[in-house]
Symmetry: C2
Amino acid sequence: MDDHSSKAAPAVRALLFDTFGTVVDWRTGIAREAGAFLARHGIPGRPEDFADGWRERYQPAMQRVRAGERPFVRLDVIHRENLEDLLTAWGADPARLPAGELDDLARAWHRLDPWPDAVEGLRRLRERFVVAPLSNGNIALLAAMAKRAGLPWDCILGAEVVRAYKPEPRAYLDTAEVLGLPPSACMMVAAHNDDLAAASAVGFRTAFVRRPTEHGPGQSTDLEPTGPWDHVVDDFVELAERLR
Amino acid sequence: MDDHSSKAAPAVRALLFDTFGTVVDWRTGIAREAGAFLARHGIPGRPEDFADGWRERYQPAMQRVRAGERPFVRLDVIHRENLEDLLTAWGADPARLPAGELDDLARAWHRLDPWPDAVEGLRRLRERFVVAPLSNGNIALLAAMAKRAGLPWDCILGAEVVRAYKPEPRAYLDTAEVLGLPPSACMMVAAHNDDLAAASAVGFRTAFVRRPTEHGPGQSTDLEPTGPWDHVVDDFVELAERLR
């Protein structure tokens, strides 16, 4: 048995989910919408590379907020800014593209599809636990994604609620406080070892979910757990079985 | 036709609900739990009066936050403080009562039952609109209430998300901003004219729901609309019919 249920720790009451990569397949969804956009405007290049380039700009942009160089700003704004930066890098002038189309493409992050097990797994987990995203995505993004995909969250939590981006300790600790729970009654569920390491460092329980194609067929990171996580599973349905 | 749909205003995208009194019957639920507590500890008095006394302490306590006399504090904390104040007024010494029982009674606000039409009405409204509470209740309270009662919110919004208590203009305006919508695409749904007046003043659309027994059989306030609200209905199912 590799979980802590036999120890004196309080029972887990809430499961908090990383979203991009853990619940939804961002790369396929962004490549699909970007592909149509690139074709329409005659911009050459692989849609998957466009998706990767957009995602690569995500951490540095949030880092400016984490470092205090910029006040908290929601992820929708960062996605829109990074889209312009990316288009420029791809040789296109964003000022010459229709602003309404850019706004719509930036909202492609609201329209990502869940991994095949996600909805059914969450439905089962929700019977016993509070389930919520603890994502760097903003509330409108996560709510639109959930409504479209049928993700049965109990509430939408994350960076915008606590005004802090993961992996800042405050992002986890303040989320536990919002729920009225000690960190040890919260379990972070993520496909990313660094997210689990940060959550674990402040007392969260942890579950690693393998998502070996998040970054496409050649993925080389986060294929296996790198820490002593409480659970390691292949999907959310398996997690529900493990936590019964 | 008493709505604005024929004017140039943008279509309503989100319905924001007052909760205590509009979605749930707080007086009956609090009286039920308070009655058991009072009997157990031999404290004389009518449970309904206890519920009313608790609720009467709600606005003055929030007013201290609104007036800047105190930093933002979530409603769970205010409910717990006001419970001690109320017990003292009823001649009981809260320091001599079990703290765990007081904590549990303070969470009776998490366990309120919805009005009979609420779940079905929200389910129908959710098919066409984003539905969320815009309540002075905190996130944990509203999420627990929704999970117990089956309220199908798309997300939990309200005072804690925007750090402002209604009827401050910011409570409404910042909620619209979180949703990425102009105020005119948001409709406030409430059984209280003052809530609708404050929402309307910052550009929200409005729907008044009659809840003539919120304050018991002798209710004298909010029996009828006192402003030019966009819709006036008897329950959420009627609202769903009106907004089809």
